[in-house]
């Protein structure tokens, strides 16, 4: 369990002072109001949603456990006696609702682990309830959903309906894109020195490259990478995030605050990263520490807050593998196979960005 302060209540942000005054003139009224609140909460105590702050974690847990048992027994009841199934289902649904509300109301006083496990069991129960409902009265629940959808969404449907063919308009977007980019090249060596002529922090995009070598010197604020095949990238510090999507048989050498890797296959990453890199829908990706040099990179790294190696290059989170054992989708590059530090000082700008 992690009693991390980040989830603690309280915390007054810069520029957000709680208003303390306005309590005195209304004191009498307040007392009345408080008494009423007390009565109300007493009345609702039977339904097991009393105020969370009166009872600490253990009280919440026992109440939650009791509610969970109630929900589970209602669910099993609707399986064992099909005649009373609708009633049991409704009971189960309301018990699950109560549980969810309980968890939500206690959310700020609960440690993260308890909250997470509480929410996980709520969603498990929901799934079980849905399953039971579909077994028992598949038609009814289905038609009910249809109906409410039909009345609710006619106005929102038109904008979302033309979604499936989204692949078409994308190129037109790309065509009018501002900012710096290398796009749609084959077999080229692309070099850009971001330290020249860059008055404001910019982003950089690399898209649709095949068999290219890319050298970016200097720092940038954000880097977007999309659809690369057989490319080698050597990139200066990114003092923001890097977003990588759909790359195959590439090598990346980069330093950044955040790195997200989607749909990468057979690709090596040499990283220095302040937070944990993540992968999603990847296979055969490998990681090693950052290994890049050019004249002035120390200053660029320092200015980007990336002067020290946190070791996070090896702490990869795989969103498709949420288990304790090592994900089969990624590995570390064995030391004997790693690239030597690459010095790109001598590489001169050959291609200007478009």
């Amino acid at each position: 369990m992690d009693p991390s302060p980040s989830n603690a209540a309280a915390a007054t942000a810069a520029g957000m002072e709680p208003e303390l005054d306005n309590s005195k003139p209304a004191a009498a009224g307040n007392r009345k109001h408080l008494a009423m609140l007390e009565r109300l909460s007493k009345r609702s105590a039977t339904t097991s949603v009393a105020s969370p702050e009166a009872s600490p974690v253990s009280a919440f847990l026992s109440r939650f456990a009791a509610g969970k048992v109630a929900a589970e027994s209602a669910l099993s009841a609707c399986r064992s006696s099909p005649d009373d199934a609708p009633a049991s289902l409704a009971a189960a649904a309301s018990a699950i609702d109560d549980l969810e509300r309980l968890a939500a109301e206690a959310s700020h006083s609960l440690p993260p682990y308890e909250l997470r496990s509480a929410l996980a069991s709520v969603s498990d129960l929901r799934a079980a309830h849905k399953l039971a409902a579909s077994e028992i009265r598949p038609k009814k629940s289905f038609s009910f959903r249809n109906k409410s959808k039909a009345t609710k969404t006619p106005q929102q449907d038109p904008p979302t309906l033309p979604q499936p063919p989204t692949e078409q308009p994308k190129p037109t977007f790309d065509a009018v894109l501002p900012g710096f980019a290398f796009r749609s090249r084959n077999g080229a060596t692309l070099v850009k020195d971001l330290r020249i002529a860059n008055e404001k922090d910019g982003d950089f995009t690399l898209a649709d490259l095949v068999s290219c070598e890319v050298y970016l010197k200097g720092k940038c604020r954000a880097l977007y990478i999309h659809k690369l095949r057989d490319c080698r990238l050597f990139v200066g510090p990114v003092f923001g995030s890097v977003l990588i999507e759909d790359v195959e048989r590439c090598t990346f050498v980069m330093a950044a605050h955040q790195i997200r890797i989607h749909e990468a296959r057979a690709t090596d990453f040499y990283l220095r990263v302040r937070s944990r890199p993540i992968i999603e829908d990847c296979c055969g990706v490998r990681f090693a520490p950052h290994a890049l040099k050019y004249e002035g990179i120390e200053k660029d790294l320092r200015d980007s807050g990336l002067e020290e190696d946190t070791g996070n290059w090896a702490n990869v989170d795989d969103f498709k593998w949420l288990r304790a054992v090592q994900s089969p989708n990624w590995s570390l590059i064995p030391e004997e196979e790693r690239l030597q530090t690459v010095d790109i000082s001598e590489v001169q700008a050959r291609e200007d960005s478009s």
């Binding site: 980040s6 989830n7 209540a9 309280a10 915390a11 007054t12 942000a13 810069a14 520029g15 957000m16 709680p18 208003e19 408080l34 609140l37 909460s41 609702s44 509300r101 939500a104 959310s107 700020h108 929410l119 409410s148 959808k149 609710k152 969404t153 106005q155 929102q156 038109p158 904008p159 979302t160 979604q163 989204t166 308009p169 994308k170 977007f173 710096f180 404001k200 922090d201 910019g202 982003d203 898209a207 604020r221 954000a222 977007y224 923001g240 977003l243 605050h257 955040q258 997200r260 989607h262 302040r274 937070s275 944990r276 993540i278 999603e280 829908d281 807050g305 989170d317 969103f319 498709k320």
Partner: protein, 185 residues
């Protein structure tokens, strides 16, 4: 809003609001929450799951649910819809390529019945980046005008990196939610 939910709000001792932050991955949700809370934003890992923050804001206590935006975990967003008073949709204004995805996910979300009453604040984040689209352009691409009739919404340009625009956005959201659910004061 039904009578039941009015009663529920009165019952609470503190004036609480439940705010749900969602948006595609890499849009800056966690950074916004930490920035507004005055915390260090330089080491933030992509959110695996969710974070909850309780922030005192004016006379309200905001329960902010910051839910991870990676594709794999977007399907879990619906677990957080219940009792949401304010919805914050965060857009990476410099990620033009994925704006279509962004619009599709947003409209998908807004179909959800449990969010029907929630006010919508759209943060056009990363305005400090040179190539970022302006809030008006984002509003157009996301087709926000289409919901003029059935929802309170506002788009605010911001930068979680510098902090610009964040308070302006939350001011609007809190006022709008308050005027809806605390009508009895």
């Amino acid at each position: 809003m039904g009578l039941l939910s009015i009663i529920r709000k009165i019952k609470r001792k503190e004036k609480e609001m439940r705010i749900l932050m969602v948006g595609l991955d890499n849009s800056g949700k966690t950074t916004i929450v930490l920035k507004i809370n005055g915390e260090d934003t330089s080491v933030i890992s992509p959110t695996l799951g969710f974070n909850i923050k309780t922030i005192q804001y004016q006379k309200y206590s905001l329960n902010i649910w910051d839910v991870g935006g990676q594709k794999t975990i977007r399907s879990y967003w619906r677990n957080y819809f219940e009792q949401t008073d304010g919805l914050v949709w965060v857009v990476d204004s410099s990620d033009v390529r994925r704006l279509d995805d962004c619009r599709a996910e947003l409209h998908n979300l807004l179909k959800e019945e449990r969010l029907a009453g929630a006010s919508l604040l759209v943060f056009a984040n990363k305005q400090d980046i040179q190539g970022a689209l302006k809030p008006a352009e984002i509003a157009k691409v996301l087709n926000l005008a289409a919901m003029d009739k059935d929802r309170h919404w506002k788009i605010v340009g911001c930068s979680a990196y510098t902090g610009d625009g964040l308070l302006q956005g939350f001011d609007w959201l809190v006022q709008d939610v308050a005027s809806r659910i605390y009508v009895l004061d």
